[in-house]
């Protein structure tokens, strides 16, 4: 195998070196930003060097270029006559494939790894500037790793005997999907697992194609399955995109109804809820095409409320008496726009007077789990910069690996010393302690330039005194999950621990409030806390929806007494039914996708289950699935694939729809048929006996000149 490795390495070496040199040049250019002394602030504050766009772009492009090219070359040089020359030797084809792969992989890793090692050496040892975190190299390492599927994908594309030109590139969709998805995983090892899984599929497919010389019939089942997976992804993408385009076109020419709200249309309109300043949950309505909004309480009784998002609302009673009156509401926006609406107000006498609505800004929002977003690819997982005002001579940065706040003299980048829980230690002195706990990567705090939020405590930097002032420290056995201090609660810091929700007074005169967390709080992504009733009460809203809207859509609102922390009231937002999903339009090409979407929408997305409205969709999609199944069965029968294979392809047609039919055409060789001399029907030439009459093939006709001895 060593000889094969040597041969393959020699063939690829110049290309790997060329790729490495080009990548090195890109990296060099990207690094110049890092050493730009003319900037008023060090560029490292926005991105550590291995996280700069330039470096990551260079490695991403390098990965695509070098990975695909080496894979393509390896595949290209192992087909046709060269394939025969390569494999006709006393070594198993698998060992030859392994040798080629080892050489290709080794050169790829070298071509990508050497520039990476170079850039690490420069920024860490040769010309260090500010902090360095080894973890930041993981993003570039992942960029190298996600190129591995491209190597084997490139090999597979070049070696597979594609039946039609476009299908040659189908595995590209799979390898790119694996690479992109792996690169997006917030956990490094999740990405590694994705790369590994995707690579295994591609290696099996490429290996099978190599050892069989691309002949589909000779490939073992596992190879066919791996190839099927790689092709299916491309076909599914193609069919879904093609189907969407077709439906868009249909909508354009025929006003097709299903695409108005995207590929999956919901017939229902969600109900919007709002919270009033005194803690009442109300329903907000906004009719399409009409300006202004109206509100009712949960029982449907109309309310006259003031939307705080509007600068002004004028209510003019027009007519009526008693319980029914007509009023004109005129809103004027902050940007000067006016809108007016006339509405029937029922029972005006019973309308509450405290009619002001809370908008999004009234809440301090805590996003649970937001620190997991981005994961290891985010700089904030490793360092935390402190921005002090005025002329800066020393930049302070919390380095998670050290657990200390380190000062760097600017622009010399010499270390001044570091701050720990015990105080400041000069550079060179042995630090006595370190901050414990993980950094909360995305605390929702104002003025966070000087804040350090850890799972063990919250601290503020005093740059002049060179110390970290503790604001809050977690109780033993507790861990801080999120921190917030927006304008809605200017004097308090909101701390969510794994057990409580606390309002910590920033000054002593503002007391602390400890609220219990909802038992099933883990089900909610966001927690919003708003002072209501003039600060006498606190409204806590648990929700699964995005918190960027003024409207509330789900979850519950708990009202607490701000002084005692006692629960006063709990208001649950009724579960929203989203109406019947409409997917039948474009999903006819992928019926199982459509049926799955319908089930998913009803079971998990709170869509209404209306058998009457959904049955016809199931009928259409079911009929489409059966049609695709039958197409595959008929084709497989006509191609004389045998009972078991016919059944398999039928199932694939049923499950994958049009993509399943295309997959059959992509993967299976269409057999040649000739007319049977015995029964006169067309028979497949690869079979020893006629599939209709079981006759053998007749011997070629003799012409009387045969000489055999």
């Amino acid at each position: 195998m060593r000889a094969i490795i040597w041969k393959q390495a020699r063939e690829l070496l110049r290309w790997a070196v060329l790729g490495m040199v080009v990548l090195g040049m890109f990296v060099g250019v990207a690094l110049t930003e890092w050493y730009d002394d003319t900037l008023s602030r060090p560029p490292v504050m926005t991105r550590l060097p291995l996280h700069t766009e330039g470096i990551l772009l260079a490695f991403s492009l390098g990965m695509i270029g070098i990975g695909l090219w080496l894979g393509k070359l390896t595949g290209y040089r192992a087909r046709g006559t060269e394939w025969a020359l390569l494999i006709h030797r006393p070594v198993s084809r698998t060992r030859i494939f392994a040798g080629m792969s080892v050489a290709m992989l080794g050169l790829y890793v070298a071509a990508m790894g050497i520039p990476l090692a170079g850039v690490i050496a420069v920024v860490h040892w040769i010309k260090p500037r500010g902090p360095f975190a080894w973890g930041t190299a993981l993003a570039a390492v992942m960029a190298v790793l996600v190129g591995i599927p491209l190597l084997f994908g490139g090999m597979l594309i070049m070696q597979r005997r594609a039946k039609w030109y476009g299908s040659m590139w189908l595995p590209a969709a799979f390898m790119l999907a694996v690479s992109v998805y792996a690169a997006k995983r917030p956990e490094f090892w999740h990405g590694v697992l994705w790369v590994f899984g995707g690579t295994v599929v591609l290696v099996v497919a490429a290996w099978g194609v190599f050892v069989s010389g691309g002949d589909e019939e000779k490939q073992p089942v596992v190879v066919k399955a791996a190839q099927g997976i790689t092709l299916s992804v491309g076909l599914l993408y193609g069919v879904l995109i093609g189907g969407l385009m077709l439906v868009l076109f249909a909508q354009y020419v025929t006003d097709y109804p299903f695409m108005k709200d995207g590929p999956i249309a919901f017939t229902g309109t969600p109900t919007d809820y709002r919270l009033t300043a005194d803690g009442q949950l109300v329903i907000e309505k906004h009719e399409v095409g009409k300006p202004g909004r109206t509100w009712t309480d949960l029982q449907g009784q109309a309310l006259l409320l003031e939307d705080s998002s509007r600068s002004k609302r004028t209510v003019t009673m027009l007519e009526g008496s008693g319980d029914d009156r007509i009023a004109q509401l005129e809103d004027s926006d902050t940007d000067g726009d006016h809108s007016a609406t006339t509405q029937l107000i029922t029972s005006p006498a019973s309308q509450p007077t405290a009619g002001k609505l809370l908008d999004n800004d009234a809440f301090v929002w805590l996003a649970q789990g937001s620190d997991r977003k981005g994961g290891y690819q985010e700089q904030r997982a490793y360092v935390r910069w402190f921005f002090t005002e005025g002329r800066v001579e020393v930049w302070w940065v919390y380095e998670a690996a050290l657990g200390r706040v380190v000062g760097y003299r600017w622009p010399e980048w010499t270390r001044v010393g570091s701050i720990g829980p015990e105080g400041f230690a000069e550079d060179g002195a042995e630090p006595k302690s370190r901050f414990r706990g993980r950094m909360l990567s995305n605390p929702n705090v104002m003025g966070k330039d000087l804040w350090l939020c850890l799972s063990s405590g919250v601290y503020q930097l005093d740059a002049e005194q060179r110390q970290m002032r503790p604001v809050y420290e977690a109780r033993p056995g507790q861990e801080i999950v999120q921190v917030g201090n927006r304008a809605a609660l200017p004097h308090h810091l909101v701390i969510q621990t794994d057990k409580t929700l606390e309002l910590v007074g920033r000054e002593e005169k503002f007391g602390n409030v400890v609220l219990p967390l909802l038992e099933d709080q883990a089900d909610y992504r966001y927690i919003g806390i708003a002072p209501i009733d003039g600060g006498r009460k606190l409204a806590v809203h648990y929700t699964r929806s995005s918190y960027y809207s003024d409207q509330l859509r789900d979850g519950c609102v708990l009202i607490y007494d701000a002084a005692t922390g006692q629960l006063v009231q709990r208001q649950d937002i009724p579960e929203q039914r989203r109406g019947v999903p409409m997917v039948a339009g474009f999903a006819v090409f992928e019926p199982s996708f459509g049926i799955g979407t319908l089930i998913w929408a009803v079971a998990w997305k709170g869509c209404e289950f209306d058998l009457k409205s959904m049955l016809w969709q199931f009928e259409v999609l079911g009929a489409a699935a059966v049609v695709f199944c039958l197409v595959n069965v008929v084709v497989a029968w006509r191609w004389a694939l045998g009972g078991r294979r016919m059944a398999w392809w039928g199932v694939l047609g049923l499950v994958m729809g049009l993509a399943g039919v295309l997959l059959l055409w992509c993967m299976v060789s269409r057999p040649v048929k000739v007319r049977c001399a015995s029964c006169g029907r067309k028979r497949v030439v690869r079979r020893e006996r006629c599939e209709h009459c079981a006759a053998e093939f007749g011997r070629p006709a003799e012409n009387g000149t045969e000489v055999f001895a």
């Binding site: 041969k7 025969a84 020359l85 006709h88 006393p90 070594v91 070629p700 045969e706 055999f708 001895a709």
Partner: protein, 309 residues
């Protein structure tokens, strides 16, 4: 007959709608030099590729040393030397590198033979494969194939594209290295003079159908020319069926027939009413061309020209 090293059993191969090889069965005895002849596209390379397991046949099978070609063990493959059509090499390799590369796969390597063949073709050790002439490429490919001392040598049209001198060198190398070695050589060619010099068995493929498979001597004996002389010109019109007839040429008073020896053949010729019938020996060239060319009655070019006057 000695043991068969290579066997084809009903080998059939279709390329799309075209049947390239149609139920070919033949056996190559150990120690023979077996020539597979046929026109371009007659299925020779397909048979060789199927034999080496490089291509799965549509139907039937082939065996080497009794092993199915599609499941050849690496050790068995090591006993088979293969020289592909066009003498492919890894062009970037120097001759020395190519030798080191190839020898690393074999337990035994005949350095002396490699050196002799390379020297015979005047190839420098530092030359790269891509810089060699066609003849030298063929020589290097042959040297690399022979040096592993294979028991069976499979050559796919080895002399194709070589000039007469290179061809002579090439054939000499094959003859010298296989003589007295007990090695079996199975090769395809359409250069008949070369075949005549080296082959002791011959098979002829005519559009994928095997027409001839026998020792060379038998072939020579069986195929002959019969000349029928007529006093009043060759009878016009269609000739009656003559058993074993490959082709006949009318030329003035003579009817020249190339035919395989068959019973009733002479009677059929005498029935035409000739004044005399003579038999003449025929070269292999002519015999093979008779198989590969158009069968039936032809008019000689001379007669055509004469008729035009």
């Amino acid at each position: 007959m000695s043991e068969a090293v290579i066997q084809f059993e009903n080998l059939t191969h279709w390329y799309g709608k075209h049947c390239a090889v149609d139920q070919v069965s033949l056996a190559v005895p150990r120690g023979s030099v077996f020539a597979l002849l046929g026109r371009n596209g007659s299925g020779k390379s397909t048979m060789i590729r199927a034999l080496l397991g490089l291509q799965k046949p549509t139907r039937g099978r082939s065996r080497v040393f009794g092993e199915d070609s599609m499941d050849l063990a690496p050790q068995t493959r090591g006993r088979i030397g293969y020289l592909a059509e066009g003498h492919p090499l890894f062009g970037w390799m120097k001759v020395g590198e190519a030798e080191r590369f190839e020898r690393s796969f074999y337990d035994s390597w005949n350095e002396r033979m490699f050196a002799a063949v390379v020297e015979h073709f005047r190839i420098g050790r530092k030359q790269r494969g891509k810089d060699l002439s066609r003849g030298q490429r063929a020589g290097l490919a042959l040297a690399l194939t022979l040096a592993s001392e294979p028991e069976v040598l499979v050559l796919d049209d080895p002399a194709m594209g070589l000039d007469p001198v290179a061809r002579q060198d090439f054939l000499e190398s094959i003859v010298l290295t296989t003589r007295d070695s007990g090695r079996t050589v199975f090769f395809s060619s359409h250069i008949l003079a070369d075949v005549e010099r080296v082959a002791d068995h011959v098979a002829i493929l005519d559009q994928g159908v095997l027409r001839v498979c026998c020792p060379m001597e038998v072939f020579r004996q069986k195929v002959r020319r019969v000349v029928a002389t007529f006093k009043e010109g060759v009878p016009a019109g269609k000739l009656p069926d003559i058993p074993g007839l490959l082709y006949a040429v009318r030329c003035a008073d003579e009817l020249s027939l190339v035919a395989v020896e068959r019973s009733g053949q002479k009677e059929a010729i005498w029935a035409l009413g000739p004044a005399a019938v003579t038999e003449e020996p025929i070269s292999l060239d002519e015999a093979v061309i008779a198989y590969l060319g158009e069968h039936g009655v032809r008019t000689s070019l001379l007669e055509k020209i004469g008729g035009g006057q």
